[in-house]
């Protein structure tokens, strides 16, 4: 008897505390997840680099281009704009964040595959490498001054001397 009395509050407390902890957990769970989501989304928004856009020589006739044509241009296969001007492709170094972002998110081709595609064309005599620029400033000045030029840049670095090309 004594034993049972002594046991009772303990098990009751165990039970009680167990229920309350689970209940709390389940109630808090969606809230917690929401908080985590908001927090990470918020921190992404804070730390994420500005998106990269495709830019061209300001007098280029095109305003929009399909992704498949853009892939052919940056794959160094398609060398002419529809109005017959030669395309001049400018890229940044393979390991820059701009190049990686452009390849993965705009072309949707992995940077190492783009490099391999260029290598295969150059070393069989079927194509040439794009011109590599050393800085954002060089990218801007080349695109602004070379007829038929195409390249890419972060949205916060665009100037009036280049035109944004939309992807269809």
């Amino acid at each position: 008897m004594f034993e049972s009395i002594r046991l009772y509050p303990v098990s009751a407390m165990k039970n009680l505390s167990g229920i309350s902890i689970f209940a709390l957990f389940w109630r808090a769970c969606p809230l917690y997840m929401l908080a985590v989501f908001l927090f990470t989304a918020n921190s992404y928004a804070d730390t994420q680099e500005p998106a990269v856009v495709v830019i061209t020589f300001p007098a280029t006739s095109e305003n929009v281009i399909s992704r498949s044509s853009l892939r052919a241009i940056f794959g160094m296969r398609l060398g002419k704009w529809p109005v017959d001007t030669p395309v001049k492709v400018f890229v940044m170094k393979d390991d820059t964040p701009e190049h990686s972002d452009f390849s993965k998110n705009i072309l949707q081709v992995f940077p190492h595959q783009l490099r391999l595609a260029w290598d295969r064309q150059v070393f069989s005599g079927q194509g040439q490498y794009p011109e590599q620029v050393a800085s954002v400033q060089e990218m801007l000045s080349k695109i602004a001054s070379t007829p038929g030029a195409i390249g890419y840049i972060k949205t916060n670095e665009i100037t009036k001397n280049v035109r944004i090309l939309q992807i269809r």
């Binding site: 992704r67 892939r71 398609l78 002419k80 529809p82 070393f123 069989s124």
Partner: protein, 403 residues
């Protein structure tokens, strides 16, 4: 010992300086009369050590350095539709190639029409053969998945026949949201007149040479999702005639080779899976009593996975199988008829390799091969068939620099 070390150090120093001089002189594109001239090249040195047999030189239980690839190339675009290109190559590969300088390719590429949906054009001159996924740049280490291309399809011993042809290649590209399609059709004269080509096709003893009709090659490659999926089909027809030498054991026969290659590749961000399957029927006739008329169906395939461990590291695992005659896979019928080892009729090669890119211009590689059968070994390095060993291991090391 000390003197030779000093010499080696000085030589290495001069060599490295020379390379950097070359690099800084040529690596950048030059403007030539308003059109862009690009000059590039590569230098690859390999070392091969085998437990038995010889491959790429005298490699049996010692290090063979007789595997070297040196190339330079230039391209010029006088107008946007036309490119002139030429590549010179020295390819040293044991007894099969002495490394003499050759014109690897030399062509004029004219894009006849192009628009947003595609392009078409023609390449005239010496054009690299579109054969499977890797043949066009088979001698450029940076574009290969491994030190040694899968030998079941990219035979080192018959490379002279398959590497390039003199003639024309028509090309047609289609770019659409559903994917890109690249089709080529070439008609050209293969490089089949050499001693190495003769040895590859009929062995060391006959002393004649081959000549070929114009060889048609057709290839179609479909790339889905920006190159994540690649599917390819290649076929060609080599129709060659044998001109016997003085007192030759063979008569003036004909050989017809009509391979078909099916290629598939999946590329994820950190890994790739590649497989190619080839049917290689060869028919011989009128070679006389020493080589009765025959048609044999060679068969090849490999499955290859590569994984990018980190930005500079890549690992590779491959299983590569070749049967000289799919009707006699274990070579027993061949052995009974010729008294030569059955295991010379197949090879099953497990390969594990690693690649390290020190810089974008400098690459190091190592790979290990465990091979059952000697089907892909060139006879020039292994003239005595009774000295061959069925199960053998191979370690390969490679350093490659490009500019």
């Amino acid at each position: 010992m000390c003197a030779s070390f000093k010499f080696a150090k000085t030589a290495a120093g001069i060599f490295i300086q020379g390379i950097f001089l070359l690099w800084t002189t040529f690596a950048h594109a030059e403007n030539l009369m308003g059109s862009e001239l690009q000059l590039h090249g590569f230098l690859t040195q390999g070392v091969v050590i085998t437990s038995d047999n010889n491959f790429l030189g005298q490699s049996n239980k010692k290090a063979s350095p007789d595997f070297r690839e040196i190339g330079v190339n230039g391209s010029l675009r006088p107008i946007s539709d036309v490119q002139l290109s030429a590549g010179l190559l020295s390819h040293k590969a044991g007894g099969t190639d002495n490394g003499e300088l050759r014109l690897d390719y030399g062509l004029i590429d004219w894009t006849v029409s192009s628009n947003e949906q595609g392009r078409s054009g023609i390449r005239l001159g010496r054009v690299k053969n579109a054969y499977g996924l890797y043949n066009k740049t088979r001698d450029v280490a940076f574009t290969r998945p491994s030190i040694l291309l899968p030998q079941s399809i990219y035979f080192e011993r018959t490379r002279n026949v398959t590497v390039a042809s003199d003639g024309a290649e028509l090309y047609l590209d289609r770019y659409s949201e559903a994917g890109s399609l690249f089709v080529t059709f070439a008609l050209g004269q293969p490089q089949i007149g050499s001693e190495a080509a003769k040895v590859a096709l009929v062995g060391l003893i006959p002393n004649g040479s081959f000549e070929s009709k114009l060889m048609p090659i057709f290839q179609a490659i479909y790339e889905g999702d920006g190159g994540k999926y690649r599917l390819g089909f290649t076929t060609l027809q080599l129709d060659a005639r044998y001109n016997p030498g003085v007192g030759d054991v063979l008569q003036a026969g004909q050989m017809k080779f009509t391979p078909k290659i099916f290629s598939a590749q999946y590329n994820a961000e950190h890994w790739s899976l590649t497989s190619e399957y080839a049917l290689r029927p060869t028919s011989n006739k009128n070679f006389g009593p020493n080589a009765p008329d025959s048609t044999i169906h060679g068969q090849s395939y490999y499955v290859q996975g590569s994984y990018r461990l980190a930005s500079k590291w890549e690992a590779l695992l491959r299983y590569d199988v070749m049967y000289a005659d799919s009707g006699d896979r274990d070579g027993k019928e061949f052995a009974a008829a010729t008294h030569r080892p059955a295991f010379t009729r197949f090879s099953k090669d497990w390969t594990a390799g690693v690649r390290f890119d020190l810089t974008p211009e400098f690459m190091l590689r190592a790979e290990y091969h465990r091979v059952d059968g000697t089907g892909y070994l060139p006879v020039q390095d292994n003239p005595n068939p009774s000295a061959l060993v069925q199960r053998w291991d191979m370690l390969m090391l490679l350093a490659s620099f490009r500019f």
